[in-house]
Symmetry: C2
Subunit: 132 residues, 2 copies
DNA sequence: CATTGTAGCGTTCAATTGAACGCCGTCAAT
DNA sequence: ATTGACGGCGTTCAATTGAACGCTACAATG
């Protein structure tokens, strides 16, 4: 219900790594970051701590270190962030964004094909009345 | 080149109104905001001032008031914000977001049709080599 | 056992953001 | 001419974010 706490740029960056790895320590996250990023160990530590405080991650001690893992389903978090973005940018309408993505951004043949498949599937579901 | 200044929530809200109206004074923006929003005149004023400082809007004095208008093409600003969002969330890949929007979000028949048209158009462009 | 390095925890600090004042000028109605 | 009301400009203030320390506990190594 409560609309997820903020998940700002840097924290998201870190969170996504944990999501991808399934679980990670500060050091692991640090190593996954692009070397060019140049964040300090302590800084990453801080972000992980904040992510835990906000409820995005949970942590359990493992020997000397802490192992962080996602507490909420990443897909769900993503979903909410997309919704939020949609609200802020297009009053919640998906179409304008879709149009933008499809028109102004070079999609490869393949990608277009994938989309077409997706649409077909949708259509079929629409026609065939829900038989659950 | 320089990646647009930040355009946070509240400021975006205000900026979008100016974009929509073409040009607006503080009071006009205030009136366009949902009454439930309850922002103060001075607050909106502050946001407009900041938007000007950041280069999103330009302002010229008109009598006692200032009239703000967009200095950058709104579509372009949007574009950059979408790119940024894509980067942060999906490493710049459009597909995952497209899939999400199409699958997890109820599109109406019509919308699906619109998309199909869009895709067809793309395909034609792809086949037909650029004859500019 | 003493040394060294790693990690946690609490703290700090500047910049940004959300929100709003106060003072001051000006224009309009008494 | 006086009194308001409105708007601009500069300022403020708390919360959040980006980034990083310092101190301390502890574990491994010489």
């Amino acid at each position: 219900m409560s609309p997820l706490p903020n998940l700002p740029r840097s924290e998201l960056e870190v969170a996504r790594i944990v999501w991808r790895l399934g679980s990670a320590t500060v050091r692991q996250v640090l190593e996954e970051l692009p070397k060019t990023r140049g964040l300090d160990f302590k800084t990453v530590q801080t972000y992980l701590r904040r992510l835990e405080a906000k409820g995005f991650l949970s942590a359990k001690r493992q020997g000397r270190s802490k192992v962080y893992r996602s507490r909420l389903r990443p897909a769900k978090v993503m979903r909410e962030m997309i919704d939020d973005f949609l609200d802020r940018m297009f009053d919640g309408e998906a179409m304008p964004l879709l149009q933008h993505l499809i028109r102004d951004r070079g999609l490869s043949e393949e990608e277009v094909e994938q989309l077409r498949v997706l649409l077909n599937r949708l259509e079929r579901e629409n026609d065939e009345p829900d038989k659950s």
